[in-house]
């Protein structure tokens, strides 16, 4: 058994491969013709790797490889809004579930492929939501960047759109409902900081083995929901900042999760005091502990983007993150100690894992 760490970067995809010991790493790439990629992720049931991106020359596309990254094809067939509407600029995130591939795009919308990424059609219900005229772009644009699916019920999906918020469907995408109660907007006037939508969700994930526990990193806070997003509770007490981008969960323990707080949206968006740390909770966010051993403790002025932290399925679990200055750090012991396993790659936008036989 081995693991491939899938890297999405500003200049293509890279694969970092190792065996179960996770001590020696081999770097392969760049793939996808140096396209700027926002996300590289696997469909573990098919051993297929998907990469999403938007090229300044050639537009949006979804790349895929069926042979572990050796050969790649690309498609944007059907990945389009009707003529006359603002065209799709970028395929932003890929999520494989229940035999389907979901893709979130900019401007915000959701597409689905039933043929393994060869062609796509829009999940039109989302953009039919009556709030659509109010959706306003965040710093990266009006982007649907997070897709979460119920592992049991294929009709249940959550998506995150910055800076619009979380939406939920339980009918396969026909109707959608905002799921932002309890998440705040510090950038709105006092007394108006808990609207129905307009929240700047940064990343969203489902706790392992659960259908209703979600974790969220928001522009304004870290949150947990135990009711499928109907209500959110802040879990940021004990963390050095309420700001960051990624959240990752343990592969087996629903109470264990990882954040990587940055110092704040107006303070440079790098690790607090330029000292890197991944913060872990073993109790669903009630208490936090920082893991720093092996991470730079001075001069760490990098960012870590919303899809750029992941775990593997080994025991103990591996944790990985990639930085805006092209380094990848790995922990073999669930965040206690770290080492740099790649450096000087292009700016990293995403980190995912794929277990391999």
């Amino acid at each position: 058994m081995g693991v491939a760490v899938l890297i999405g970067s500003k200049k293509g995809a890279f694969l970092l491969e190792s065996d179960s010991a996770r001590r020696d790493w081999r770097v392969r790439g760049p793939y996808c013709e140096h396209w700027p990629l926002t996300h590289v992720a696997a469909d573990p049931t098919q051993q297929t790797i998907y990469a999403t991106g938007g090229n300044a020359w050639f537009g949006p596309a979804v790349w895929k490889s069926n042979d572990g990254g050796a050969a790649w094809t690309h498609s944007s067939k059907g990945l389009a809004y009707p003529q006359g509407e603002t065209p799709v600029q970028c395929a932003w995130v890929a999520h494989a579930a229940h035999g389907r591939l979901y893709v979130g795009v900019e401007p915000a919308g959701l597409f689905v492929s039933d043929d393994g990424g060869e062609s796509f059609r829009e999940v039109e219900g989302l953009r039919r939501h009556p709030s659509r005229p109010q959706w306003q772009p965040g710093g990266i644009g009006l982007v649907l960047h997070s897709i979460v699916s119920d592992p049991v019920d294929p009709r249940r999906l959550w998506v995150g759109i910055s800076s619009v918020g979380v939406f939920y469907t339980e009918d396969g995408g026909e109707t959608w409902h905002p799921r932002n109660s309890g998440t705040r907007c510090d950038y709105l006037p006092e007394g108006e900081r808990y609207p129905e939508l307009g929240q700047c969700v940064h990343n969203l994930t489902l706790a392992s083995g659960h259908s209703n526990r979600l974790y969220q990193q928001n522009h304004c806070g870290m949150y947990r929901s135990d009711d499928g997003g109907a209500s959110w509770q802040s879990i940021e007490d004990g963390l050095p900042s309420s700001f960051g981008f990624p959240v990752a969960v343990h592969p087996r323990d629903a109470d264990t999760l990882f954040f990587l707080p940055l110092n704040g949206d107006t303070k440079g968006r790098y690790p607090p005091d330029a000292r890197a740390a991944v913060w872990r909770s073993r109790d669903g966010g009630a208490h936090w502990r920082d893991g720093r051993a092996g991470l730079p403790q001075a001069g760490a002025y990098f960012g870590v983007m919303r899809q750029a932290m992941a775990t593997d399925a080994f025991e103990p679990a591996g944790v990985y993150f990639g930085t805006s200055n092209g380094s990848v750090y790995a922990s073999r012991d669930e965040g206690e100690t770290w080492e740099c396993i790649a450096r000087d790659l292009p700016a990293i936008s995403s980190v995912e894992t794929m277990m391999a036989n």
Partner: protein, 90 residues
Amino acid sequence: MSAPVVVRLPFLLTALFPGAERIVRIDAETVDEVMNALEERWPGMRDRLCDTTPAIRRHINVFVEGKRVRLDERLPPGADVFILTAVSGG
């Protein structure tokens, strides 16, 4: 049938379509018809060059006889059509 136009494609584009040629002769009276003919030969190529406005992508330039043109430009018989990637990226 009038003389086909001669279309020159950029390397970065043909690299995305295995087997695609850099110089193509196409029977077309407009740039839009050129794009459709390219799509027919190499499915997906029109999406790489045009968006759904429909328009030529912002960082793709199509030149005919020294002039940058749009999709609706009419082409004289035998015209030289240059499709180029603009200066872009970092």
